[in-house]
């Protein structure tokens, strides 16, 4: 922490409300396959990591920490070389394809113990960076910047959480479930995937998800907090056949109007799925918070790459026309669904 505190030297008092982000080295505790293409990666962080909330994410370096030139070893010391001979550097970047930028991953869980903090991310192998992550084993080192982004809000006047996750949108829902359990909410999970072996969840043995779409204690990530869940697959290979909204709608329909007012839909997943879910929630008069995962370079609010269209809010300054771009990385990733100007 010493280094971090000294780096705060330039931070004036009036911006100290920024949650403290840091670049930390982490050790892989485990990296275990969950289903096809998906892994749960648990990282051990030294000391106490800044407080985190569900919806927040970290920027993982998907390459050996310190970069191709082994900066960690060189940091603070001068390498020895004979000026007549060029310095010998291991330029990993020349031999293999490695991700340059960090990759954003939602927090899927967190715990603190005497030696430090652990965080979970669940990653799906889709390209260069995630391929590298897939090969990590216990004891390997990675570095990350975090915690980043805002969080899901749990309004005081609400008490029923409908947690909707599709594909790689599921991980933040697991962390949210953990948090809602502590906050004493009732929760139903809605888990969607294209097919059975891409469902990044742990199914309780002997507890097949209901093919009719009834909530049951079938998914460990939810049932460990005594929350039921509904599973949908596009091809019907597990749970209800259909989209995740096909699982959500009957439940919304069954809620009394006063109960709908106490409910909040939380959703993360592919754009079309989030949009459909948001419309459904609106149709039933239920509040909805969406976690928008836009492509990011910095994740820290500097590059302007992760823009999402958000309707102007009362109090916004400057003319924009009916919407303005906000940054998924610092204004989000969580937004009120009704504020999003969907494409």
């Amino acid at each position: 922490m010493g280094a971090i505190m000294s780096a705060m030297g330039s931070l004036p008092a009036n911006v100290s409300t920024i949650p403290m982000r840091c670049l930390v080295g982490a050790t892989v505790v485990f990296n275990e396959p969950i289903c096809r293409e998906h892994f749960r990666l648990r990282l051990g962080l030294p000391g106490r990591f800044s407080p985190t909330k569900p919806g927040q994410f970290v920027q993982l370096g998907c390459r050996p920490p310190g970069g191709g030139q082994n900066q960690e070893a060189l940091l603070g010391q001068c390498i020895e070389w004979d000026t007549a001979i060029p310095p010998k550097l291991t330029q990993t970047e020349l031999c293999e394809e490695l991700a340059l930028l960090r990759r954003p991953f939602s927090l899927a869980g967190r715990g603190d113990n005497a030696t430090g903090t652990w965080i979970d991310v669940i990653h799906r192998v889709v390209g260069t960076g995630t391929q590298w992550l897939a090969h990590l084993a216990a004891g390997d080192r990675v570095d990350l910047i975090g915690p980043l982004g805002n969080q899901f809000e749990l309004p005081d006047d609400k008490s029923l959480g409908l947690l909707v996750g599709g594909g790689v949108g599921l991980p933040p829902m697991f962390y949210l479930a953990q948090w809602m359990h502590q906050a004493g909410w009732d929760v139903v999970g809605f888990v969607g995937a294209t097919t059975r072996d891409l469902l990044a969840v742990t199914c309780n043995s002997g507890q097949e998800p209901d093919p009719g779409g009834l909530p049951t204690h079938c998914i460990e990530e939810f049932s460990q907090f005594n929350f039921p869940a509904v599973v949908t697959t596009d091809d019907g290979s597990q749970g209800l056949m259909g989209r995740v909204t096909d699982g959500l709608e009957p439940l919304l329909r069954g809620l009394s109007v006063p109960r709908r007012r106490q409910a909040v839909v939380f959703v993360c997943g592919p754009q079309a799925m989030m949009q459909a879910t948001a419309h459904l929630a609106q149709a039933y008069g239920v509040d909805c918070q969406v976690c928008l995962e836009q492509a990011m370079a910095c994740g820290m609010g500097t590059c302007q790459s992760c823009v999402v269209k958000i309707h102007d809010q009362p109090g916004d300054i400057g003319e924009t026309g009916d919407w303005r771009y906000k940054l998924a990385c610092t204004d989000g990733p969580v937004f009120n669904a009704q504020d999003v100007a969907w494409a």
Partner: protein
């Protein structure tokens, strides 16, 4: 060596910096965005995102895509505009300046008049040490004209120079997307730039091979990061040797700087100061890490001042530009 650490002080044609490390425009926000991850007070200078007369929303997403060793961006100069900049961001920059770094405001206009007007407003403010002209943003319509055409660039720079207070340093940021960068460098200097910065991004294209369309919403984008570093080092050396050294105009170099070795290459090639762009996304503390490590490097070389290393690259005498295989 007398046991003292080599000095990193830099004097850029009168603009004095505690060290050569800067942030590159558009990669560090407006001021305190990295404050908890980078000790901003240890920067030589802070360079803002490009400011335009009116706020700009910028391009549609996707605005970035990674390529091997680099990234393409097509942000489209999204920025808060001059009014909000002066009202909200400048007070923060003043606070930052009081802690050490010099403040450089990067601006872009649609035409020479708008450039001049912006520069007038900005230079009227206290605590701004230099104005950097972004004449080379490849991501906005017409944005390339000034940066690639020396006949347009020189009068533009002259007009801006006339419209700002004489004590403000004028930096022109050169585009690499030209046939002969020495011509635009010369035009910038003739117009009245007393510092050059180089380079902006290379116009580039990546393709979504399944949908047969560009991977950026804008179509093309600007390539930055380690992929462009050797190209940038070459251009810096070319401008240094052929234009800047004789004119006594210092160069702020950027393009793929991530490690101290990268910075050292640029210094030897002729750069007096260095900016980190894409590297900040990977580690915001890159500039201060490099500062520390440059000190060790300079002492290894037996220099006691950074300026001794500037341009000390020894090119083979017979070196020609276009080498034959």
């Amino acid at each position: 060596m007398n046991g003292e650490e080599p000095s990193l002080n830099v004097n850029l044609a009168g603009l004095k910096l505690a060290n050569p490390m800067m942030t590159a425009s558009g990669t560090c926000g407006y001021c305190f965005e990295y404050a908890d991850l980078l000790d901003l007070s240890r920067l030589g200078a802070f360079v803002t995102k490009t400011i335009t007369a009116k706020p700009r929303k910028g391009n549609e997403a996707y605005r970035i895509v990674e390529t091997r060793g680099g990234m393409l961006n097509a942000i489209g100069l999204a920025n808060v505009g001059l009014e909000v900049f002066l009202k909200e961001k400048l007070p923060q920059l003043r606070q930052l300046r009081a802690s050490g770094p010099r403040i450089i405001v990067n601006i872009a206009g649609h035409d020479a008049n708008e450039f001049a007007e912006l520069a007038t407003h900005v230079s009227a403010e206290d605590d701004i040490d230099a104005i950097e002209l972004n004449v080379s943003c490849p991501n906005v319509a017409g944005g390339l004209d000034f940066g690639t055409n020396p006949d347009l660039l020189e009068p533009l720079v002259a007009k801006v120079r006339q419209s700002i207070t004489p004590n403000i340093n004028l930096i022109v940021k050169l585009s690499p997307n030209v046939g002969d960068i020495c011509q635009t460098a010369r035009a910038a200097i003739n117009g009245g730039a007393n510092i050059l910065s180089m380079i902006n991004t290379y116009t580039a294209l990546t393709v979504d091979v399944y949908h047969r369309r560009p991977r950026l919403a804008n179509g093309t984008g600007g390539l930055s990061g380690p992929a462009i570093r050797p190209l940038a080092v070459y251009l810096v050396n070319r401008v240094y040797q052929n234009v800047a050294r004789q004119a006594n105009v210092p160069i702020i170099a950027m393009g793929g700087i991530q490690y101290w070795q990268d910075a050292a290459e640029f210094i030897l090639a002729g750069a007096s100061a260095l900016a980190v762009g894409t590297g900040l996304f990977i580690n915001p503390a890159t500039p201060t890490n490099i500062s520390d490590q440059l000190v060790s490097w300079l002492s290894k070389l037996g220099y006691n001042h950074l300026e001794q290393a500037v341009g000390s690259l020894q090119m083979p005498t017979a070196a020609t530009d276009t080498h034959s295989q």
